[in-house]
Symmetry: C2
């Protein structure tokens, strides 16, 4: 995970796909001193593992979650979330697994 | 990843599913002082990230790969592999992602 690009400027993020199959995708994310990141809401479950660094996630209900190395979080489809902050002094590395979307049964 | 069961005895491994959807499965594996583990060969791609500890993988062609924290390895479907050893002095934690099997097109 330490191999690969890292963002040069504070607030930057780089993304790289490491593997993909059958609608699932495994992604490396490197974040440098992110503050008040954009809100995300996906139509599939996303699992994130914080590999190195530190981060705080925020959710639509106002709750927050601090993550350190080895901490993980499952973001179910439709879960509105954002990165409030990552370590201001170092690059934060994430492994994000985008699970295949589950198609709802036909009505 | 530090939360969860760990094997009590040397050579032991514990497995726990953390998430699954659409044929993909994310698994936490804790290994204690494994030596000469069993050979595995799956019909799907497996991605492993070593989160904590250390391990050596071996492949059918005789090659080996040492993994430390943050190192990952993609084990394609049909890739025969095994764990030669994990850290003798500490629990090794892995995140394993079993990607959905890709069905070959009908002949």
């Amino acid at each position: 995970m330490r191999d690969g690009t890292t963002p040069a400027a504070p607030g930057g993020e780089t993304f790289a796909d490491l593997a993909a199959a059958g609608g699932a995708r495994i992604e490396r994310i490197a974040s440098r001193a992110v503050r008040d990141g954009a809100w995300y809401e996906q139509g599939w479950d996303e699992f994130v593992l914080l590999v190195e660094g530190a981060a705080t996630l925020a959710f639509a209900d106002g709750s927050r979650r601090d993550l350190g190395p080895g901490d993980w979080c499952l973001l179910p489809a439709g879960c509105r979330h954002r990165v409030v902050a990552t370590d201001p002094a170092a690059v934060t590395l994430w492994l994000a697994i985008h699970l295949p979307p589950v198609t709802p049964p036909a009505a």
